[in-house]
């Protein structure tokens, strides 16, 4: 390596180009916050499209929301909020070095995410059955005006959100393995914290989507 100015008393999980564990931790954390910022902007594009067309076609929006199943949406809201809680508990237990319990909470989070997707799948299946397809394929008939656009936005927004849930499940499963084999610990917990933040964002996006799409009235 030649001459290096890396202080040698750092834990081995600190990368060689960082001066300290604290520097690595704060860098990773800031990176995650910036990533979340761009995620929010990504979804905000959809929100802007939603707002523009809601002003243009208020009637469609009202009657479109009627078709969506409020109870399934509400149930999913509860499921996701609970999963945020289990994620918090997982991180707390990790920091308290209760590894086994932390892993359990992570899997609980993944399980709740799965429940969310199953409910979502039922909703989609029901709508396809009713002939509610996005855009020009719409043949539902129950909604006045530009129903195609409302459901175009509905499917795009909830679909992209569901994609984020699926990616989150994969990442959390990976985290569970890493916690279990000891490469993420109470000392070196920034990965867990970052994935926790990501998971809260997924939750937050749904908290916006649910009233926007289901509770127009």
């Amino acid at each position: 390596m030649g001459a290096t100015h890396h202080a040698t008393d750092q834990p081995e999980w600190v990368a060689s180009f960082f001066e300290s564990a604290e520097q690595q931790r704060s860098a990773a954390s800031m990176g995650m916050w910036l990533f979340l910022a761009q995620e929010i902007l990504f979804f905000s594009g959809l929100f802007m499209a939603y707002i523009a067309y809601r002003f243009l076609y208020p009637g469609t929006w009202l009657s479109g929301a009627e078709v969506l199943n409020k109870w399934m949406g509400a149930a999913n809201t509860v499921v996701l909020l609970t999963s945020s809680l289990t994620m918090v508990l997982a991180i707390r237990d990790l920091q308290l070095n209760k590894t086994a319990s932390s892993v359990r909470w992570i899997w609980a989070t993944v399980g709740l995410a799965g429940v969310f997707l199953v409910v979502k799948a039922f909703e989609y299946a029901h709508k396809f059955h009713m002939g509610i397809f996005p855009g020009g394929h719409y043949e539902g008939g129950a909604v006045e005006g530009m129903a195609g656009i409302f459901f175009g936005i509905y499917y795009t927004a909830t679909g992209l959100h569901a994609l984020h849930v699926i990616i989150g499940m994969g990442l959390l499963g990976w985290l569970a393995v890493k916690v279990k084999n000891g490469s993420v610990t109470g000392e070196n917990d920034v990965l867990a914290e970052n994935l926790g933040l990501y998971w809260h964002l997924v939750d937050l996006v749904w908290i916006f989507l649910f009233p926007m799409l289901y509770l127009v009235k």
Binding site: G2, A3, T4, F17, Q23, L41, A52, G135, I149
Partner: protein, 548 residues
């Protein structure tokens, strides 16, 4: 792979020689190697985009359509725009020069997330590959702006191209994220915000725009892909969608993207004008602050691309007002750069020639921007060759030529060798002259009424177009000469010293080319990066010996 044995106390090899084999490049997490890979890739794409520009210009040599047919012509200018914007100008300055100098200027060993940095490069290549697929599948004719409903109805592999743009956006976001965290978290002791080299302020502002604007492009092109795939109707007027909404979405990204392209050039010019005038930069705070002001106000002016689109008069007035506010911080920068030469010790080196060229071209680009910002005149000039000339002065004269100037400035650091200076000086003058020969006539032909993206045009516009085509050929030749001597210099040039320009910032205080880990010791910064006059005692960037 390398079995050569080295003496134990031999000098450390440079980053170029540290390891060998193509894998050591393609999977390197060293920011310097990643920068070189971006350099090679963007240069190849620049040649491809340039060939497309050549086809367009040669076709326009005569008023009638003869060399290409109309559809080929439309594909040629679409590819020229898409390649140059998404594959060349947006990544070139941040990903090549930014990647190379950012950690060095900070005295750091690498960016904050080296693996993410490599991932950005691979994502960039994946996006480029998708654009290539679109080209192979018959190419697309939407223009680089992808306006709906043309882009949602025309035949061709538009979705491939859009997906490519979507993926390129991710590369851009991740690079910006990486750089912001690096500047925040990796500064060495003593490197306060007001001691950052101005290049880093520019990169910081650029990265902020990349993170804030690019996601909106991502969702926009994604919606367009979905529109083409299943017809959700968001931009389709027959289903109640609004094509003008697409323009709002598109320019919400693509106007700030103009600043992603030009802000790094501001940084490069700031460094070059100080170093090659051998004095401290004039108005450091003004230049740094105006970069941020441009990044912020620049995100609020997208509607000035839409003065004739049918958006409301009130929107147009507001966007015009904000547009004029962009001109103020830009003017501050130009004046500060000129003032930096006062009482300097000006070296007529190639980077300085590019500074002169930049100031003249960017002034023309900026002032014609003022013409276009005025609502009543923009109605006449919108979508004519006047606009084409204006943005080429800014994007090519401002961004690309300054990026090339920046390569001249950091070339000896990147490769440890010098290019032939006299040839470089002469060529930079030829580039400047032929650039003006190409684009000045376009202002006239545009204000006389020639619309852009025209395959055939009125005979009365022919002579000016012929001048432009001759200019474009000269420009192409000059740029190929530039490429030739730079490559020659990198391989066979005179070895360069550690600090050939007598610069004061940190990247010049390690070997040329740098060792793999950049510095032997953690630098300690006690002054500004432009300390030439020694007015304040101890204000000098130095590499302090570590305590051991």
């Amino acid at each position: 792979m390398s079995t050569e044995t080295e003496a134990v106390d031999a000098p450390e090899p440079s980053y170029l020689a540290a390891t060998r084999g193509w894998k050591s490049w393609l999977f390197s997490v060293d920011h310097k190697r990643i920068a070189i890979m971006y350099l090679v890739a963007t240069t190849l794409f620049m040649i491809a985009g340039g060939v497309m520009a050549g086809l367009v210009r040669i076709e326009l040599f005569t008023a009638a359509g003869d060399l290409l047919d109309a559809d080929q012509y439309n594909r040629a200018f679409t590819l020229h725009g898409s390649i140059m914007v998404f594959l060349v100008i947006i990544p070139a300055a941040p990903a090549v020069l930014g990647n190379f100098v950012l950690p060095l200027m900070l005295g750091a060993r690498d960016v904050a997330f080296p693996k993410l940095n490599l991932a950005s490069f691979h994502i960039y290549m994946a996006g480029a590959a998708l654009l290539l697929v679109a080209m192979v599948l018959g190419s697309f004719d939407t223009g680089w702006t992808f306006y709906t409903p043309y882009s949602s109805t025309t035949v061709g592999p538009v979705a491939w191209a859009l997906t490519g743009v979507f993926i390129l956006g991710f590369s851009s976001i991740l690079t910006g994220l990486n750089f912001i965290v690096t500047i925040h978290k990796m500064r060495p002791p003593g490197m306060t915000w007001l001691r950052l080299p101005l290049m880093l302020w520019s990169i910081y502002a650029t990265s902020a725009v990349q993170i804030l604007a690019t996601p909106v492009l991502a969702i926009t092109v994604l919606l367009l892909v979905i529109e083409r795939a299943v017809g959700i109707g968001i931009f389709d007027p027959t289903l109640g969608g609004d094509p003008v909404l697409f323009q709002h979405f598109f320019w919400f990204y693509s106007h700030p993207a103009v600043y992603i392209m030009i802000l790094p050039a501001f940084g490069i010019v700031s460094e070059m004008v100080a170093v090659h005038s051998q004095r401290s930069i004039f108005g450091y705070k003004g230049i740094a602050g105006s970069s941020l002001a441009i990044a912020i106000v620049g995100s609020l002016v997208w509607g000035h691309h839409m003065f004739t689109s049918g958006q409301s008069i009130y929107s147009s007035v507001l966007f015009s007002f904000l547009t004029f506010f962009i001109a103020v911080p830009t003017a501050i920068k130009v004046f500060s750069w000129v003032a930096t030469m006062y009482k300097g010790r000006i070296q007529f080196t190639p980077p300085m020639m590019y500074v002169f060229s930049f100031l003249a071209l960017f002034m023309i680009g900026g002032l014609t921007g003022v013409v276009l910002g005025a609502l009543s005149i923009d109605v006449h000039l919108h979508d004519t060759y006047y606009v084409v000339a204006h943005f080429h002065y800014v994007m090519m004269g401002g961004a690309i030529l300054t990026y090339i100037g920046g390569l001249h400035h950091w070339w000896p650091k990147m490769f440890g060798r010098m290019y032939p200076m006299r040839l470089a000086n002469i060529t930079s003058a030829l580039v400047f002259i032929s650039f003006n020969l190409t684009f000045l006539p376009m202002f006239v032909v545009g204000s006389r009424g020639m619309p852009r993206r025209y395959y055939e045009y009125l005979a009365s516009f022919e002579s000016l177009n012929q001048i432009a085509t001759v200019g474009a050929i000269c420009l192409g030749v000059s740029l190929f000469v530039t490429l030739g001597y730079l490559i020659y210099g990198a391989i066979w040039g005179e070895p360069a010293s550690e600090n050939p320009w007598n610069a004061k910032s940190l990247e010049w205080q390690t070997a040329s080319p740098p060792i793999e880990h950049n510095f032997h010791y953690q630098p300690v910064v006690t002054g500004t990066p432009y300390d030439y006059d020694g007015a304040e005692p101890g204000q000098k960037v130095k590499v302090a010996e570590a305590s051991k």
